[in-house]
Amino acid sequence: MQIALKNDLKEMGRLLDDVEGWGKGHGLSEKLIFDLHLVLDEIFTNIVHYGYEDGAEHQVLISMELEPGEVRVRVEDDAREFNPLERPDPDLGVPLEERKVGGLGIYLVRQLMDEVQYTREGGKNVLSLRRSTGPS
């Protein structure tokens, strides 16, 4: 499956509907579909919020493939160079008063996927992710 989205959060509905349709069509578990939803929501939201400063329309390309035993996801955008994996994990053990609200999105992505890699290719940010389809 490949989908091209504008850098606008209004596109989120279309993204999540397509992920759900693709996942159900391939017989993925409800839990796995939920997790893929969440991962792509987080990544797409970050790109839209932080990636662009020119106010122009850009495209974000998301592709998903089912290989034997795993789902592979690729997200490509032409936003400014940004490696989300370089951000430190949020501190989840502190009392509520000290809890910061940032850093949770990528943390969730890294917890839910088995592998996440970032590369910068030809002026684009590329995130490659994998998740086993077996029991977690």
């Binding site: 939201t45 809890r99 609200v101 943390y107 969730l108």
Partner: protein
């Protein structure tokens, strides 16, 4: 692809019904609604999550803001009817202690009295 929020007052608490999804596109609305309740003086909140089937980090961030405001106001919050997927997200983000979960509305309302 959105969130519907309802309010029902009982026993000194507000049962806030959440149906749908909270994600990057509507977390602000979700947060504003709950913060609005707190600022209007409602400090005992029981969140009905039976129809709440998705939350992303934007929703979690909003929940943290709400929890902080409630704590500052000396209030309490409880959840009930939480599905496993949403519970997993709250678990991963370290929020299970901040959002205690109960088996039904009566138990949640009692817990925030």
């Amino acid at each position: 692809m959105d969130i519907t929020i309802t309010e029902n007052r009982r026993d000194g608490a507000v049962v806030v019904g959440l149906r749908g999804r909270v994600h990057g596109g509507n977390a602000d609305t979700f947060e504003e609604r709950l913060v609005g309740l707190i600022e209007a003086g409602e400090h005992r909140l029981a969140l009905d999550c039976t129809g709440f089937d998705y939350v992303s980090s934007a929703g979690v961030r909003a929940m943290i803001v709400v929890a902080k405001k409630l704590k500052d106001a000396g209030g309490k919050i409880a959840l009930f009817g939480v599905n496993q997927n949403v519970s997993d997200v709250l678990d991963i983000t370290g929020l299970l202690d901040i959002f205690p979960m109960y088996e039904d509305e009566d138990a949640a309302v009692k817990a925030v009295r």
